[in-house]
């Protein structure tokens, strides 16, 4: 228990501590169970002992898959499932299998196979975090592995073309999201008021879909129609990860001020651009302070277009 534990995983963006579903699952579980984990964001999956990510290193022990890492943490007495009944433990396994079979293929597809998403978001993001010359090779390899996995597990007759496979996996993923939403209902977490392993897995799979801004977002749009799942992700992010745009730990007013400052800067930039393009707008009564008020009220909705404009 006293031995320091270090987790190596891919870094995060878009308000998430990590973009990688399995890394997120482990991080969330560590937060839920109170395990003291130092998180190292790595830039090269070949540096990890077995090439898998995430990897937990504690003294001389190296553990690599999420299920095994969680088992290890439980043995070290960091157990988030302590209050679950046997049946609830069984349900956890079943729902995790559902996530892996039905949601994971579509998640992999959105990140790594969908051409527009991969070329404009995933590949540049990973390439910028991996040192040259591996940045030329690793993203491509990860993409090929994802496609391989999808085709081997879901492809095959009667689905004969990639587009048929794609249609089927997105149908399955949307059904899975609906089932999760029905199961969650109005409670805060899947088994009452304290988060457990299942919550960690669901969060790990859903948060990347929810937060990452892709050009092709059919899964995200479907998820946004299920408000209880969105609320679930947001709750975990604010309560357990406390990340904001500025990246500082919030302390009420400070956060609001920092956010407001950043918003003001972005708004000013935007209004300068518009002024350059159209003289009429300069004469209109819409000047920054009023615009800021409007933005403040609709801060949630306005963030994404502003983020797109920021460098």
């Amino acid at each position: 228990m006293a031995a320091p534990m270090e987790l190596s995983c891919w870094g995060g963006d878009w308000g998430l501590p990590s973009l990688h579903p399995e890394s997120l699952t482990v991080m969330a579980y560590a937060k839920f169970s109170g395990a003291p984990l130092t998180v190292n964001t790595i830039n090269n999956s070949w540096r990890t002992p077995k090439g898998d990510i995430p990897v937990l290193i504690s003294e001389d022990i190296v553990i690599s898959q999420p299920a095994k890492i969680l088992n290890f943490l439980r043995k070290q007495k960091y157990n988030a499932d302590y209050e679950l009944s046997a049946k609830q433990g069984a349900d956890t396994l079943a729902y995790i299998a559902l996530l892996e079979e039905k949601l994971l293929p579509a998640l992999l597809h959105t990140f790594w196979v969908e051409a527009e998403n991969y070329c404009s978001v995933t590949k540049p993001w990973f390439a910028s975090r991996i040192p040259f010359p591996l940045s030329l090779y690793l993203p491509g390899k990860m993409s090929r592995e994802a496609l391989n996995r999808i085709l081997l597990t879901k492809g095959g007759p009667p689905l004969y073309s990639l587009s048929e496979v794609e249609a089927q996996i997105y149908r399955d993923a949307k059904e899975c999201l609906n089932l999760l939403s029905k199961r969650l209902g109005t409670s805060q977490f899947f088994f009452g008021n304290t988060p457990t392993t299942l919550d960690a897995f669901v969060f790990g799979f859903l948060a990347p879909v929810y937060k990452v801004c892709f050009p092709r977002v059919q899964l995200q749009e479907h998820l946004k129609q299920l408000p209880n799942l969105c609320r679930f992700c947001d709750d975990i992010l604010t309560c357990y990860f406390r990340l904001t745009i500025s990246g500082h730990s919030p302390s009420g007013q400070d956060t609001a001020d920092a956010n407001l400052q950043k918003l003001t800067q972005l708004v000013n930039k935007e209004s300068n651009l518009i002024e350059k393009m159209d003289d009429n707008l300069r004469k209109s009564p819409q000047h920054p302070p009023r615009k800021l008020t409007t933005l403040k009220l609709a801060a949630g909705g306005e963030e994404s277009p502003l983020n797109r404009l920021s460098p």
């Binding site: 069984a90 396994l93 079943a94 299998a97 892996e100 039905k102 095959g156 029905k182």
Partner: protein
């Protein structure tokens, strides 16, 4: 008349799941065995059913087809229960099915002694060896893609144990998974457990794992008694000898 075509591969659980499901729906079915059943099936997978002039393969689509005809076992469940049923069905597919495939095709001893001879038996040499190796290569590729290639036999058996424990805990003391009425989940679980319990392999470890859970073996016996005993005489001559060999009640 519903005809079912299947290849009675050692360790193939789907025909039993399907037969249990159809019996539970009270639909009369005749089992017919063909060596080329895999090629007759529209999706290349067995089992498949042949009704009138329609052919539907694999358990999932067959369940949908039967539902469309007005027979469904899960109508009495509420939304949360249906979600749970689907989740457990995925658990069984994810763990038990993959473990069965692993044992059949990735464990060298079993492959040499049992699987290759069985799979290639309808064909003359060298076709039997070629087809067997082709299937083995295909299955091993899939195992590698989902991360099971690196697992040892002990790890696979541990996974099976975990899955059986979950099923046993979910079943508890009830007669079926959703209390009084059997559902698709019961048929699926029966198919897999029955196969594991009655298939002869090089080791008994897999069936021992299941036998550790008394309520699961009782569950299988109950379903076998209720749905299979009285129906044996309806089966065609070719199927009867095979199904008579497999029984939990001997």
């Amino acid at each position: 008349m519903w005809n079912e075509g299947c290849v009675l591969l050692m360790g193939c659980s789907a025909p039993f799941s399907l037969k249990a499901f159809l019996q539970m729906c009270n639909l009369p079915v005749r089992v017919v065995c063909r060596a080329n059943a895999e090629y007759m099936s529209p999706s290349g997978k067995v089992p498949f059913i042949h009704v009138g002039n329609q052919v539907v393969s694999e358990l999932g689509p067959i369940v949908q087809f039967v539902k469309a005809k007005g027979h469904s076992l899960s109508d009495g469940l509420d939304e949360v229960q249906k979600a749970e049923m689907k989740a457990y069905m995925e658990l069984v597919n994810n763990m038990l099915l993959t473990a069965e495939l692993y044992l059949q095709w990735c464990d060298d001893v079993t492959v040499e002694e049992i699987t290759h001879p069985r799979y290639g038996s309808p064909y003359p040499w060298p076709l039997n060896r070629i087809l067997a190796y082709q299937k083995q290569w295909e299955i091993r590729r899939k195992m590698k893609a989902i991360g099971w290639a690196g697992k040892s036999l002990e790890q696979v058996l541990e996974d099976v144990d975990q899955c059986c424990q979950a099923l046993s805990q979910r079943l508890g003391t009830q007669p079926y998974f959703f209390n009084k009425q059997p559902t698709e989940l019961d048929a699926l679980v029966f198919g897999h457990l029955f196969t594991i319990l009655t298939t002869q392999l090089t080791t008994d470890e897999l069936s021992e794992k299941v036998k550790n859970y008394g309520n699961l073996t009782a569950f299988c016996r109950r379903i076998e008694q209720q749905y299979f005993e009285g129906h044996d005489k309806d089966n065609s001559g070719t199927a009867a000898p095979r199904s008579a060999k497999r029984s939990l009640l001997r």
